[in-house]
Assembly symmetry: C2
Homo-oligomer: 161 residues x 2
C-alpha cells in the first residue's frame, strides 16, 4: 500500500506499468455460470482451462457457485463467473455484465495510474484465489462506465496454457 | 446465405468453426469515444492501431463519430466505438456497453452454429467497413444477455499488427 502513496499525483500518471493479459470476464446471473460455460463450448467451441468454485457456505445452496472459470477461445482467455454478493468473493460483483481483467505484476501502481488518469477505485486491493485465477486484485471504474479488474498474473491459467 | 440454410439444425451444431481473434468492443455514449481512447492510453498505456470514422452525415454534427478504433493492450486488441443509431453504421449498437467481437473466415456458419446452440440472431448479416475493421458482420445475443459480433477478419488491424 505504501507504493500507492508514493505514486500519487504526477508520478502515478507517468509510471510505466506493463500488462501481460486482457481477459473479458462475463458475470452471469447465479447459478447460471455452469450453463453459460456449456453454451460457450457448444456455440463457439470454447475450451475450459479450469474453474474455481465458491466455498460452499449456505445450507440452502445446493451447488457451489462458479467464482471464475477460464475458457480459451481463439487464443484468448475469457472468464465466466456467477454474480454473487457472498463475502467469500474477493471482489464483489455489483451485478451481471462484462468486466475487463488486466493482469500485471504491479497491481498497486496500475491502480494508482488508472486513478490518476480519471478512474475511480472501487474498494480496497484484496488477496484471494477467486477472480482472475488468484492473487492480488484491485477494481476500478472508468469514466465511461466500464469496470476493470487489475490483478496479479493468473497462476492456474498460466499452468494450463 | 445459402450456407446458413444448409447448416440449420444438427449440422450447424456440429460444424467446426475456427475463430481467429476475440476482441472486446467498448461502446461509449457518443461523442465520447475520442475521450475514452485518450483515457485508455493514459490510464493503461494502450496504443492506437487505427480508427474508422463515421461518414459525416448531419449538418449539426460537428465532429465525425468513431465507428471503431483499435487499441492494443497487452497483446490484445480492444475496440472503442461511439454509440450511434445512424443508418451508416453496419451494426446498430443498441446502447452503450461491452460486446465481444469474434473473428472468423466463415461468418455464416459461425452465426448458424451459435443460433443452433441457443443464441438469438439480431438483424441480418451485413457488409461494411465499420465494426471490427470491416468485412462481413453478424450479431447474436447469447442466453445470458451478452452480445457477440461475428465478423470476418479485420484487414486494417491485420496490416497494423
Amino acid at each position: 500500500m505504501a507504493q500507492v502513496e508514493v505514486l500519487n499525483g504526477g508520478a502515478a500518471e507517468k509510471a510505466v506499468v506493463a500488462f501481460t493479459a486482457v481477459k473479458p470476464q462475463l458475470v452471469v446471473e447465479a447459478p447460471k455460470a455452469g450453463d453459460a460455460i456449456e453454451f460457450y463450448k457448444s456455440a463457439f467451441g470454447a475450451e475450459e482451462l479450469g474453474r474455481t468454485l465458491h466455498p460452499k457456505r449456505k445450507a440452502d445452496q445446493e451447488l457451489p457457485l462458479v467464482l471464475s472459470a477460464q475458457l480459451e477461445l481463439a487464443g484468448t482467455t475469457i472468464l465466466v463467473s456467477d454474480c454473487t454478493d457472498e463475502s467469500a468473493a474477493p471482489v464483489k460483483t455489483a451485478g451481471t455484465g462484462c468486466m475487463l481483467c488486466l493482469e500485471t505484476e504491479d497491481v498497486e501502481a496500475a491502480v494508482a495510474k488508472a486513478v490518476a488518469a480519471g478512474a475511480t477505485a472501487e474498494g480496497e486491493l484484496v488477496e484471494g484465489d477467486g477472480a482472475c485465477c488468484g492473487g492480488r486484485v484491485g477494481k476500478v471504474k472508468d469514466p465511461y462506465g466500464f469496470t476493470w479488474l487489475i490483478c496479479s498474473p493468473a497462476k492456474k491459467c498460466a499452468e494450463a496454457e
